[in-house]
């Protein structure tokens, strides 16, 4: 019976899947442990993080309302805010758990596009609120490491009903 042998990594799709899934799980672990500066380090210098509104999942931030459209300047400011005692919605911080499944991977013109389903639970002040949806990660290899060029989190809920805000990073 054939055994997977890491020393015989031939760049096959299975290996790519392992690499991408590990990357997504590592990202989730950084977010859930609030290691947000390390999380920022996963992005390329021209990285972007977008969350469309619940009623317009394919909204274009240039033309339509979206919840979040962060370039790296604003993403850094978002992280500073989340670490600050003046970011009141997340001070004290909530507990979160990011679940990722249904990962599908495509390679388009050298870029890796991973789509996946997510379930992010947020617990705080005796309340719990689940964010449900799907991710699109556009990944790029930089110096042998995967980096995020574009992360989009599309929500399936009809409204932020239990949540009141998108105060955590999805």
């Amino acid at each position: 019976m054939a055994q997977a042998d890491p020393s015989k990594n031939d760049g096959s799709l299975r290996t790519l899947r392992e690499t991408v899934e590990d990357f997504l799980y590592q990202e989730a672990a950084l977010l859930d442990s609030w290691r947000l500066d390390e999380w920022l380090g996963l992005f390329t210098a021209d990285g972007r993080y977008v969350v469309p509104t619940t009623d317009l999942p394919d909204g274009d931030p240039q033309k339509h309302m979206v919840f979040i459209d962060d370039d790296m300047v604003r993403l850094r400011a978002r992280v500073e805010r989340l670490k600050s005692r003046h970011g009141h919605r997340e001070y004290p911080s909530s507990r979160t758990r990011h679940f990722i499944s249904n990962v599908r991977i495509q390679v388009e013109a050298g870029a890796i596009v991973a789509t996946s389903s997510f379930l992010v639970y947020r617990f705080r002040m005796a309340e719990s609120s689940p964010y449900v949806g799907w991710y699109e990660h556009r990944l790029k290899e930089v110096d042998g490491e995967l980096k995020i060029r574009h992360k989009k989190a599309v929500l399936d809920m009809e409204a932020l009903r239990e949540h009141g805000a998108v105060s955590i990073i999805l």
Partner: protein
């Protein structure tokens, strides 16, 4: 039986105004609000640009009632109760769309886009008394539009919309006049709930006092983007006089130091938009004269159209409506309004400003949500019965004072008490100086 008099202390002689916290926690109060405010007043439904073309429709609840609005083949916007005249099923089940006819899925009754009943399967099975012409979709008792803003009332005897709007009309004009080809709602909306009483969002939206302490991280962010002297400017921006507009309407105005898409440039709008904003400014002066242009372009404002419509005319134009579903829960929807002719680069900046401050994924609104949920949670302690809204009652009030909040509360009290008219402003009394600290 609840006596509304037990809910407010309004004592101008001593400069004291307090609201009993049961006004935010009691289901009896909410029941009275439904009966005496939401069933009686004009209520915001939509902006006419949301259904631009014949057959366009959207559904939306107002005061707990399912409605939808549709532009008919004749070009007229109509508002319908979203219920089949046959046995009650929702007629409009998509959030939005375009249609020539709407068919009830239950028994296939069919209505055209002007609300007329045009198809009843096996109509011969009904007696001769059945009159199809009487069975068209029903509308709320009153529907009217002011400058593109569509309001409904479930009270057939409500006063006409324009006198109802009182002084708020002038401020709606300041918004509508910004467009040369008309305003439109930008696609996409923010829908979120807040676990707090709806009146706390009225207060928060008119409250200049909380801005500096609550939104520190937002101002740090915009200062970092190069809005020079912002922190100092924020100190003085909220010292403009507040205004009370009658019938519970009120406005909190402040110096638009962060810039305004119409038409005051700041770094938030990007170098690429300097010229287009200057050109808009010049046209504003030509269209309205220097004084009105200055008011439109230099000043930001949060306008309350009583009871629950907020038009936040600031670094963007946010239209926000919110409905109570329980004493401690409300559902909020917010949209962005922009001139139809706005250039794509400037629209992009407007939307960017919206999501940074006014959106629920931004750097300010989540903290407002947290603040008012925190108030609601604090009420459970019960031992403190009154909330204090006396700030500036003894002086010519500024935006940071609570005069505009008191105006809302006085109208609210008037409605709950069944009074025909109430004076909503602080009375001017002789001994103001004696009350100063």
């Amino acid at each position: 039986m609840l006596d509304p008099k037990s809910l407010i202390i309004d004592n101008p002689q001593d400069g004291i105004f307090r609201v009993h916290r049961s006004a935010m926690t009691s289901s009896e109060v909410l029941r009275l609000e439904q009966e005496r405010i939401f069933d009686k007043c004009w209520l915001y439904l939509c902006h006419e640009s949301e259904v631009e073309n014949p057959g366009d429709y959207r559904r939306r609840d107002v005061a707990g009632r399912p409605l939808f609005f549709m532009r008919g083949g004749d070009g007229k916007l109509r508002v319908f109760l979203n219920t089949c005249t046959h046995r009650g099923a929702l007629i409009c089940r998509h959030d939005q769309g375009t249609a020539d006819v709407l068919q009830c899925f239950y028994h296939a009754w069919t209505f055209n886009n002007q609300g007329e009943l045009v198809g009843v399967p096996d109509e011969a099975a009904y007696s001769s008394s059945f009159n199809r012409a009487e069975m068209g979709l029903k509308s709320p008792p009153r529907v009217d539009t002011y400058r593109g803003f569509v309001f409904v009332s479930f009270n057939p005897d409500v006063e006409d919309l324009i006198p109802y709007l009182a002084g708020a009309r002038e401020y709606i004009d300041l918004v509508a006049d910004q467009a040369e080809e008309g305003m439109r709602i930008v696609p996409g909306s923010n829908r979120y709930s807040i676990k707090a009483n709806w009146k706390l969002l009225v207060e928060n939206s008119l409250d200049g006092y909380h801005v500096k302490p609550t939104h520190k991280t937002y101002f740090e962010y915009v200062t970092g983007l190069g809005i020079k002297g912002t922190s100092g400017a924020v100190q003085s921006a909220f010292s403009l006089p507040s205004r009370v507009l009658g019938n519970g309407h009120a406005v909190e105005e402040h110096d638009g130091i962060r810039g305004r898409p119409i038409a005051r440039w700041s770094p938030l709008f990007g170098d690429e938009n300097k010229e287009v904003i200057a050109a808009t400014r010049a046209r504003l002066v030509r269209r309205f004269g220097a004084e009105k242009a200055r008011h439109m372009a230099d000043i930001s404002r949060n306008l309350l159209v009583y009871p629950n419509l907020l038009i936040i005319d600031s670094i963007d134009i946010t239209v926000r409506i919110f409905w109570p579903t329980a004493p401690d829960l409300m559902e909020v929807t917010a949209w962005q309004l922009a001139p139809k002719e706005e250039k794509p680069e400037l629209l992009a900046r407007r939307l960017d400003n919206f999501l940074t401050f006014h959106g629920p994924g931004g750097f300010a609104t989540p903290d407002d949500v947290e603040a008012i949920e925190s108030c609601q949670a604090g009420y459970r302690a019960e031992g403190v019965q009154w909330s204090e809204l006396s700030r500036g009652m003894h002086r010519e009030a500024i935006a940071e004072d609570e005069r505009q909040l008191r105006a809302f509360w006085r109208q609210w009290f008037g409605h709950l008490s069944g009074l025909k008219r109430v004076e909503t402003d602080d009375p001017v009394i002789g001994k103001r100086e004696a009350l100063a600290r």
